[in-house]
């Protein structure tokens, strides 16, 4: 292992950014904090992206590792102890300086600090704590901080760190305990879930404290998130979204991120993925995740024991609607919000606009279109004042054929995905959703 002591800040930043880039979460969302009139920084609940890297992902936070030294040997990770790569570490001072100077030039919303395990989980967590302490109390930084809780670290350290951060995350790494055992021999599912539980419990307690004493310090006000790697182990989509659903319900997570496996190490236990990272699959999982969080769908409605994987040709909502034609068409001038949300082509924003606008009078198709309804997709599933837009058959095969002719708004990155050339007629257009929309 090379450990280079004398390295300039530029090289360090380069190495410790490169080592942090596989963590997909980069949102600065979940907390509103006004400025205090004296010190630098504020936060906006929806989050703000500041740039986009050449892979099309949003850059919102200074996402770095404190160190890329690591005593663990997770097979999928570039920083694993058995890899021969240049190792280095920041000092807390350096991290603070970079954060402050980047922030005041409007490059970033704040800091995302993660780390390899240096010496021990406790030692590493303490370094992270020191850094955040300095940033909040010496530099008086009021911007966003996302920090990793290191599994196995002393709960006291994790708690103290949580009082300095806005969001905390512990990565689930792989969807199931078996997968984890195989690819991350130094980690166990139980060890990962423990700090997650702790953060959840402390957040609940803190809500009461803050309600009672207005000025009580806030613990992880933007909540916790996690991520899992998709496609390194053989879990089905159904298993994955079921895990996500229980993380939302039982651990009250704010976000679950899905990270298409990028092969960085040669290892007999890892799949080779000649087609590149499974980006389309990752995209379908994000779509399903949105359906669970904002559209009121349960995992078991989207997939089940018999149908374990998403249709790669059709987005999960269209797919669901085609299987439930008995619930359609719905009348837009009467249907409640929940019913509108289940119509393909109607999103949460347009559904809300419809409900608000129709109080002033009945809506027609032209108005729906301007409100953001994608009529090409919705027209099979709605009536407007009792009329359908065109005479269409409410028949699965017919609608499916027509929907497949409508170009789906797939992210550009998915377009690069080789498998897509198998069904070119889906060709990608315009904006993806999940990569910039922060929730």
């Amino acid at each position: 292992m090379h450990i280079q002591q004398e390295m300039d800040l530029y090289q360090k930043l380069n190495i410790l950014t490169d080592a942090a880039k596989y963590d997909v979460a980069c949102t600065s969302s979940g907390v509103d904090r006004k400025g205090d009139g004296r010190h630098m920084g504020n936060c906006q609940a929806p989050g703000i992206c500041h740039s986009f890297s050449s892979d099309g992902r949003c850059i919102s936070l200074l996402k770095i590792l404190f160190t890329n030294e690591c005593i663990f040997d997770c097979r999928y990770c570039i920083n694993r102890s058995s890899n021969d790569v240049v190792r280095t570490s920041f000092t807390p001072e350096e991290v603070c300086q970079l954060t402050m100077e980047f922030y005041r030039r409007n490059f970033i919303e704040g800091l995302f600090l993660s780390s390899g395990i240096l010496h021990s989980p406790n030692y590493t967590m303490d370094l992270i704590y020191q850094t955040l302490y300095k940033l909040r109390n010496e530099y008086h930084f009021r911007g966003y901080i996302h920090v990793k809780a290191i599994p196995g670290a002393d709960p006291v350290l994790i708690e103290q760190t949580g009082f300095l951060a806005d969001r905390m995350s512990v990565n689930l790494e792989l969807p199931t305990a078996e997968g984890l055992k195989k690819l991350a021999p130094n980690k166990t599912r139980q060890k990962i879930l423990m700090p997650m539980r702790q953060v959840q419990a402390k957040m609940q307690e803190n809500q009461y404290e803050v309600a009672l004493y207005h000025h009580a310090p806030q613990f992880v006000p933007a909540g916790q998130s996690t991520q899992m790697i998709i496609g390194a182990t053989p879990e089905s989509d159904y298993q994955i979204i079921s895990v996500a659903e229980s993380l939302y319900q039982k651990f009250e997570l704010k976000r679950v991120f899905y990270s298409a496996f990028v092969s960085v190490n040669q290892d007999a236990l890892l799949p080779s993925l000649p087609g590149g990272p499974p980006l389309l699959r990752e995209h379908r999982l994000y779509q399903a995740d949105w359906l669970m969080r904002f559209y009121g769908f349960a995992a078991g409605e989207l997939l089940n024991e018999k149908r374990q994987n998403f249709n790669m040709l059709l987005d999960p909502k269209c797919d669901w609607a085609l299987g439930h034609l008995e619930q359609f068409p719905v009348e837009v001038n009467r249907a409640d919000l929940g019913e509108l949300l289940r119509v393909p082509g109607i999103g949460p924003k347009s559904a809300r606009r419809i409900v608000q606008a129709r109080r002033f009078g009945a809506l027609d198709y032209a108005a729906l279109k301007k409100m953001g309804v994608v009529l090409k997709r919705a027209l099979y599933f709605i009536t407007c004042s009792g009329r359908m837009m065109y005479p269409v058959k409410l028949e699965e095969g017919y609608i499916l054929r027509n929907l497949l002719n409508v170009k789906e708004k797939l992210p550009f990155e998915v377009q690069n995905y080789q498998q897509l050339s198998l069904f070119e007629d889906i060709g990608a257009v315009k904006m993806p959703g999940q990569l910039t929309i922060n929730a």
Binding site: L13, Y22, R104, L279, E413
Partner: protein, 261 residues
């Protein structure tokens, strides 16, 4: 053909609100009057133009009326629409306001998207809001020799009034300036004080290129960061361009070719 009386005003919030006031008070009948900002549009042959002189008191009255009778949500929509670059914004704002004042029972007239005038105001407002948000994201400050943080933009709509609060709240003690080359307006925030917008400004080009000692270092660090954070296996410049269109790149540090990494 338009034979209405057009209240012709300065292209500013106060200008438009003053014209709304005058049009309303003219007693010519609300269907016979409208509001238009001065610009380079072709004048209409049969319309009668009345020149409106901006009056801050009248404008403040209109603003207060909107806030009180229609509500804050509507005020924000109309205010944003009035910052648009589109020529029909005066008409859209005026019509929506007339409708809103006629609805005595319901607030939030701007949610009545089934109505074409309201829909237009809503569209204008949405576009302006979108651009303002883009500049919250993409404004880049460079530190000048004298410690001032300086940024330039070239906005299509008048976004400065919409981002002043955001940056002042964020950087309360910094001296910063955001110069809009398109409108020749400059947002100025002296540390610890309120922000203002200076109009018809030309800046001294040498002054704004006179960077501080540390500036080059942090610009290079940032540029290096942006390139290291990308995952090669997911490379996708088209997606990047779609989220961050080329027209914004000109003033962004990470795309500044003069900075070597």
């Amino acid at each position: 053909m338009d034979n209405r009386t057009i209240f012709f005003c300065e292209d500013s919030i106060d200008g438009i609100f003053t014209a709304v006031y005058d049009a309303w008070a003219s007693r010519l009948g609300l269907g016979n009057v409208t509001v238009e900002v001065r610009g380079n549009q072709t004048l209409q042959l049969f319309a009668e133009y009345r020149q409106v002189e901006t009056d801050h008191e009248k404008a403040a009255k209109v603003a207060a009326t909107i806030q009180k009778r229609l509500g804050l949500e509507d005020y924000q929509v109309l205010y944003q629409a009035a910052l648009s670059k589109e020529a029909d914004k005066g008409e859209a704002v005026f019509r929506t306001l007339v409708l809103g004042l006629a609805e005595v029972k319901k607030k939030n007239i701007t949610r009545n998207l089934g109505n074409p005038a309201v829909m237009r105001a809503f569209e204008l407002s949405r576009t302006v809001g979108f651009e303002a948000h883009r500049y919250q994201m993409f404004v880049r400050f460079r530190e000048l020799e004298n410690g001032v943080l300086f940024s330039e933009i070239a906005a299509e709509n008048q976004v400065l009034p919409m981002i002043g609060e955001h940056f002042s709240d964020r950087f309360p003690m910094e001296n910063f300036m955001i110069y809009d080359r398109q409108h020749r307006d400059c947002l100025v925030h002296p540390g610890g004080k309120a922000w203002v917008i200076l109009q018809d400004m030309d800046l001294e080009e040498t002054m704004i290129r006179n960077y501080s000692k540390e500036e080059e270092k942090f610009a290079a660090l940032w540029k290096g960061f942006v390139s290291s954070i990308a995952i090669e296996e997911r490379a996708n410049p088209r997606c990047q361009m779609n989220f961050m269109p080329k027209k914004y790149w000109k003033y962004m540090t990470e795309h500044d070719k003069r900075i070597s990494v």
